[in-house]
Amino acid sequence: MRYLPLTEADRREMLAAIGAPSVDALFGDVPLAARLDQPIAGLAPHQGELQVERALSRLAARNVPAGSCPSFLGAGAYRHHVPAAVDQLLTRGEFLTSYTPYQPEVTQGTLQYLFEFQTQVALITGMDVANASMYDGATACAEAVLMANRVTRRNRAVLSGGLHPHYREVTATTTGVLGVDLVTLPADPKGIEDLTAAIDDKTSCVVVQNPTLFGHVADLTPLAEACHAKGALLVVVVTEVVSLGLMPSPGSMGADIVVAEGQSIGNGLNFGGPYLGLFATRDKFVRQLPGRLCGETVDADGKRGFVLTLSTREQHIRREKATSNICTNSGLCALAFTMHLSLLGEVGFTGLAQLNHAKAVQLADKLAAAGVTVANDGFFNEFTVKVDGDAAALVDRLADEPLLAGVPVSRFYPGQADLAGLLLVAVTETTTEDDMDALVNALKDLALGGTK
């Protein structure tokens, strides 16, 4: 067994040193009735790499990788090109097999990249500070509502109808047990909802996504002003973090808390996980932040160094009074993010955003030229297309080609007839003109009433 370095001779020698008659004796505290003596039912004995690789490769082969065909899937997860250096550096054992940096003298590598990561997140969101990551954008969103409640000592949160429904559900699940009053606006496919009307004196925060699920983009400044006028916080959700390279930062528009899904930078699709929740806020709220924080300090020789800090907010010190129960976070995903963003730099990050947007405009123009209705006026790299009939059925049919045409809105809102014809279509730098033409042709046939 390749992972187990002890021999039978070692085991005998060690048992002798322990003074135990057998390994079974070491398990003497286990109630007799609970001792498992037969092997695990149905599980084969240990297997070699070749056999395990074959078994898992067979499963992998039964999926259609998004990169193997034209793909327009987005809705909170985006297929971007990650430079090869990222994964090769990420898998260095000193990063991969290290733990949470509780012993800072031997984890300055991890701590320094977390400090750099926090700074990058603060810069792109336009905020003062960021934490060292959350599980994903949706859990970060839920934590943001809880934090807004702590800050404002209020208990009512307003969720936009442009918010990703999974984020809404996770927020509802997480805050529901604490009795938070959630005001959830209906789906807003046209990007016309009026959130200001929903703010009252009990409102702790308004949660708004930009671009929205449907791809609409907005200047959030008036909303921020409306929030602040009532003593509420503005929580801005970003599910496509690349948009921050082109759109005005949430901070510049008045956001108090920004949460985002960081997967787009450095991280693959991975069928939904592991992903990377970003969480940024204003300096004045820092002691209400959930999750780990890395801070700068000096060592015994006066040299700059980094440590985990403000841990009195955290569960391992504060126990039931912690700001969150989060412990393990998304460290390695944060490393991938910060490495990719370091490679991009100012020129690359803004260029990537421009390229994504320009390609999306190109596709929207092609669709419009083909007679397909694009519902959006403004958008970043994703927009809503209206098709005749059932978008989900269309997507399923095109999947056989294979062509991954986008995410039907009905997958989030089943049974809502007014949304059944809506398709979310995302474009990234990986989308080619051939890909676009394939989609345009598929949708044009429909728009013109043709059949395939």
């Binding site: 060690m14 390994v23 286990v30 109630p31 001792r35 092997p39 695990i40 599980l43 084969a44 240990h46 992998a60 259609v64 990788p65 193997s68 997860a77 430079p83 250096a85 550096l89 054992g93 000193e94 990063f95 097999t97 733990y99 940096p101 800072p104 003298e105 031997v106 977390l114 400090f115 750099e116 700074t119 603060a122 003062d128 599980y135 954008g137 949706a138 984020y167 559900e169 047990v177 609409h216 921050l244 069928f271 939904g272 801070g295 000096v298 060592d299 015994a300 569960q315 912690a322 412990c327 393990t328 998304s330 460290g331 390695l332 803004t350 390229l355 320009a358 958008f379 999947a399 294979p402």
Partner: protein, 485 residues
């Protein structure tokens, strides 16, 4: 040698990524003005590669040395698993792809779920929680939902032993419960009497870690489970230490209602400097109906994801995470299970326990052991052996670094003074354990001989010596800012 921050390496205009030229189009940002001047530094690929290579060299990992962090289970991360997680069929599939195009992924989730259920003897498992603490939250939400379904909304108290991980009380509070601590017995265990003394009609559940954080198997676990059940409560088991008993004990046989499994500990997905983890929660029949969305079911056309409550058979309490769970960790965990097989999983637990007992046996004459008897996968010591030496557990830990080892977990569990919690794991060879034991004995001897100075000056050979954590917290500097001009 010093490595600057990326911001200090900035060469404006340089980039490490080349992009194709954007097509010429008219921007459609809905009237928003394009952003400029974010402040990100410009670095070429060579500079980036060197930066992160050098940063990595300031870290210890399992790959570089024994890393006996108790409760964290720093065992070897098999490299096959890294390779398999990167197969395009797993890493390059979108969570919202049509389900016909991800049947292999759904089957992988289903297979892993099957083995988690089989290993624990439990009838159901919620796969989506992202880490151990997230799993705890899932378990407590399922309990809360079950209590609500029973109409017993008055059950708001959760029993948590003093020795518990901090996540347990934090999770209970995060889930709206009040926390009631159960004191530890002198022998490091939780007694059924102490539990019974706390039970009542307002108790929702007990959160019990087993093996517990002292590295001991709770001998009265079944009696405790029975007492809690008799009182109408549930038994949430913190599965952080499940790795000690895989293949030897099925939690179902101990009366567990819910238990999270840290895939990153038990099945060795990499810890990655603090995550990502994965914390599926096995559930008893009583709790299974409340498992969160989404989950995989066998349908007529193959496997299917249930994503909406309206489609669910049970009464899912909600959704934990944007998508379906930590797929990347699932692949690694399944590869681990298949690689070890029935014999290997049992052998791994056995060797983990053997290694810990060996360390304990070889150190007990020079360090102080708070609790007698065999331990499970962790050997716990306290700081009585350092009495009057002027050396603290922290000092001792820093001196271990100079011996080439990562320190053990220190000052946890809270129930012993100045705890040393040592978890060697099954992947350390005896030769390494002997070196470690030698170093620990050497240090214990040095401390007792009065050489406190040796400890106070440690660590000596690290990129940084001891860091001022108090100063860091007093005036937090949480990001780089450009130096004033």
């Amino acid at each position: 040698h010093e490595e600057p921050l990326i911001f200090e390496l900035d060469n404006p205009g340089v980039t490490g990524v080349d992009l194709e030229a954007a097509p010429a189009v008219t921007s459609r940002l809905g009237g928003l003005k394009a952003r400029a001047g974010i402040g990100l530094p410009g670095l070429s690929e060579p500079t980036v590669v060197r930066h992160y290579t050098r940063l990595s060299q300031k870290n210890f990992g399992i790959d570089s040395t024994m890393y006996p962090l108790g409760s964290c289970t720093m065992k070897h991360n098999p490299r096959l698993n890294e390779k398999l997680a990167r197969l395009a069929g797993f890493s390059d599939i979108h969570p919202m792809q049509p389900q016909s195009t991800v049947q292999g992924a759904l089957e992988l989730i289903d297979q892993l779920a099957h083995w988690l259920k089989t290993l624990t003897g439990m009838p159901a498992v919620a796969m989506s929680p992202a880490a151990g603490a997230h799993g705890e939250l899932c378990g407590l939400m399922a309990i809360r939902a079950a209590l609500q379904a029973r109409g017993e909304t008055g059950r708001t108290r959760v029993l948590v032993p003093e020795s518990a991980h901090g996540t347990n009380p934090a999770t209970a509070a995060f889930c709206g419960f009040t926390v009631d601590a159960i004191p530890a017995e002198a022998n490091g265990r939780v007694s059924v009497e102490a539990v019974k003394a706390k039970l009542g009609p307002d108790v929702a559940c007990i959160m019990l870690t087993n093996p517990n954080t002292c590295g001991l198997f709770e001998p009265q676990v079944k009696e405790i489970a029975d007492a809690v059940h008799a009182a109408g409560g549930y038994f949430y088991c913190d599965g952080a230490n499940y790795n000690a008993i895989v293949g030897r004990v099925r939690p179902a046989d101990l009366g567990v209602d819910a238990m999270h499994i840290n895939l990153h500990k038990t099945f060795s997905t990499p810890h990655g400097g603090g995550g990502p983890g994965s914390g599926p929660v096995v559930l008893s029949d009583a709790l299974a109906p409340y498992a969160p969305l989404p989950y995989v079911v066998h349908g007529a056309d193959g496997l299917r994801l249930v994503e909406h409550a309206a489609d669910a058979e049970g009464r899912p309490f909600g959704r934990m995470k944007a998508f379906h769970g930590q797929m990347g960790m699932f692949v690694r965990a399944l590869a681990y299970i298949l690689s070890h097989g029935a014999d290997g999983l049992r052998q791994a637990s056995s060797d983990a326990v053997l290694n810990a007992n060996y360390v304990k046996a070889r150190l007990q004459d020079v360090m102080s052991v708070p609790f007698d008897g065999y331990c499970m996968h962790e050997a716990l010591f306290d700081d009585r052996f350092l009495k009057d030496t002027g050396v603290t557990t922290l000092d001792f830990a820093k001196a271990m670094i100079d011996e080439g080892f990562h320190p053990m977990t220190m000052y946890f569990p809270l129930v012993v003074h100045g705890a040393f919690l040592i978890e060697p794991t099954e992947t350390e060879p005896k030769a390494t354990l002997d070196q470690f034991i030698g170093a620990m004995r050497h240090l214990a001897g040095k401390a007792k001989a009065g050489d406190a100075a040796h400890f106070l000056a440690a660590p000596r050979y690290t990129p940084r010596r001891r860091l001022d954590e108090t100063g860091a917290a007093r005036k937090p500097v949480l990001r780089w800012t450009p130096p004033a001009a």
